[in-house]
Amino acid sequence: MSLSDEDVRRMARLARLALDDGEVTRFGDELGRILAFVDALRVAVLEEAPAALSGPWARTPFLRDDRVEEAGHPELYQAQAPESRDGYYLVPRVIEP
């Protein structure tokens, strides 16, 4: 079983992942084999059980009061940005002039 190039390209588009042609072919084959393997689960007959969507413990995560506990340091975080100016993150133009 192998995923078609079209399937792989669709997943890559959803994942916002640029792949070259070699990667598309390789992932088609590898993902096909991995999905065939996990199919053991897809076809398994399971008794009814609630899905454990919140993690291994059913406990509700604790909540904090909604109040500021530490000063924000935007400059510290923005120093990590590949491109920023005047407190803004720079990206390619998204609206044509």
């Binding site: 994942a15 590898e30 996990v38 398994a44 454990a52 413990w57 940005a81 990206v91 390619p92």
Partner: protein
């Protein structure tokens, strides 16, 4: 004194410090020399923090681990020190804050000597997916140290640090501990804060430690465990005095021998070592009981649906805008995202993002993701049922000893199956550890012990009793003795 300190475990070094036989500064220089001498051959360290370590050693230190040199897996954020996750995506990332595990060890007086190599974003079982290249196993440099915490494991095994942090999403502390002849602990999900630990699969990720002995693991755990307001999934469950609980009697404890741990490609020589280890525990006074986890065979399929699904969601944050790698010469925002991610991530990370995207996509979500979550709940129920009858479950940590570098690179599935005994424990959220149980052709093998939720104390005490009765944990790789 050269040539001696690296042969001691954390407990031995604390004793020597307390008696004034050595100072933190001497220990720091000794281990930095070891790193300078041996790391070029092993590739354990991604970043060394020698100057900061020297400055810290010169100051008065207090705490339960005062003066003990350590290394952190390069997945833990360290304020002002580059944190890469062994990925091109984060090759220049310098976090402005410390992970809670890092901060608590700092408050306990430990001294960090550097950040260790790992599989990229903790995705791998061999340390071969690192952008910095593979780590070599100190027992045989042609073999992998295991992964994803391979740099931490190899560093402790080679005596470059007495202990190191790791993370375990599907076996990433226990499997390298087994491959490198160490003791490695993955605590219960929620026992340690995940704050500042770069996320891979948030419902499975848990910080852990690699050290020589169960006793050392208890000392590391007691200063790091406990609730953290910065991680809402950390547990308010009371922290036990784990070192004090080590001497609890093993007599009368029941150990469940999991039938299904004998299936699926288990090397008969590893099986024999596990039998011998169980016999030792029985001689120590434990009672062995056969138990069965009939759905264990589904664990790897469940894991390779859920972990990639969570990975694809968590890694969506790397977009080339706020931090991390950014592609140049792009024409649109869409292209900026896709090319930054395409260039920044390596093949295994891309593979998992693609699987995760697939199982979460329209038309497949119910069949794969929701079904896997239901199966996970059933698997956890199975574990809790048997753990209501026995104190600890036991079996081999891995089906084989360390494999050769490159041996499993061509087939991701074969690599995934290496974690067949460890994945299930993360799915069930349970604590588990691996301790050395002997050798196959000169390569170490590990015994895995699994406990009930938040029952780290009995787990560590059974392991400690085993280590009082055996010498496997004292073995050193000859060329790094």
């Amino acid at each position: 004194m050269r040539g001696e300190w690296h042969a001691r475990d954390v407990r031995g070094l604390l004793d020597a410090l307390a008696r004034g036989e050595v100072t933190p500064a001497v220990l720091v220089e000794h281990f930095l020399e070891r790193i300078a001498e041996h790391d070029p051959a092993l590739n354990c360290f991604v970043t060394r923090t020698a100057e900061e370590a020297r400055r810290r050693a010169a100051r008065p230190l207090a705490g339960a681990l005062a003066g003990i040199p350590l290394a952190h897996k390069d997945i833990f954020c360290t304020a002002g020190v580059r944190t890469t996750c062994a990925s091109r995506m984060l090759s220049d990332f310098v976090p402005p804050y410390d992970a809670t595990v890092v901060r608590r060890l700092d408050e306990a007086g430990a001294i960090v000597l550097g950040k260790t190599n790992m599989d990229e974003f903790a995705m791998g079982s061999s340390n071969e997916t690192s952008v910095f290249g593979p780590v070599r196993n100190p027992w045989d440099p042609e073999r992998v140290p295991g992964g994803s915490s391979g740099g931490s494991a190899a560093a402790v095994a080679a005596g470059l640090v007495p202990a190191a942090s790791g993370t375990d999403t599907g076996g990433s502390v226990r499997q390298p501990a087994a491959f490198c002849g160490l003791s490695g602990l993955k605590p219960t999900y929620g026992r340690l804060s995940r704050y500042g630990m770069i996320a891979f699969a948030s419902s499975l990720d848990q910080a852990g430690f690699l050290a020589r002995t169960a006793e050392d693991l208890a000392r590391l755990l007691v200063v790091t465990a406990g609730a953290d307001a910065r991680d809402a999934t950390s547990s308010p469950e009371a922290v036990v005095d784990y070192p004090a609980a080590l001497e609890a009697p093993i007599r009368g404890r029941t150990i469940g021998v999991v039938k299904e741990f004998r299936d699926a490609g288990l090397d008969p020589r590893v099986a024999r070592l596990a039998d011998e280890a169980l016999a030792v525990l029985e001689r120590c006074g434990a009672r062995l009981v056969d138990v069965s986890l009939p759905r264990l065979g589904l664990a790897v399929p469940i894991y390779y649906i859920l972990a990639p699904a969570e990975c694809s969601a968590n890694l969506a944050r790397y977009d080339g805008v706020r931090y991390g790698h950014r592609a140049h010469d792009v024409a649109s925002l869409e292209e900026l995202y896709a090319r930054s991610r395409g260039e920044g991530f390596g093949p295994e990370v891309k593979r998992r993002i693609m699987i995760g995207t697939y199982v979460l996509s329209h038309g497949y979500y119910d069949a794969y993701y929701l079904k896997a979550e239901r199966a996970r709940a059933l698997l956890q129920k199975d574990f809790l049922r048997v753990l209501a009858e026995v104190d600890v479950l036991a079996g081999p940590t891995t089906p084989t000893v360390a494999f050769r570098i490159g041996e499993k690179n061509d087939d991701p599935l074969t690599m995934y199956l290496n974690d067949i005994y460890t994945n299930a424990v993360n799915l069930a959220g349970l604590p588990a550890l691996s301790i050395p149980m002997g050798f196959v052709d000169g390569l170490p093998a590990g015994l895995q012990l699994i406990g009930a939720p938040f029952a780290e104390a009995p787990l560590l005490s059974v392991a400690h009793r085993y280590q009082q009765a055996t010498e496997w944990h004292r073995a050193r790789p000859p060329r790094f003795a």
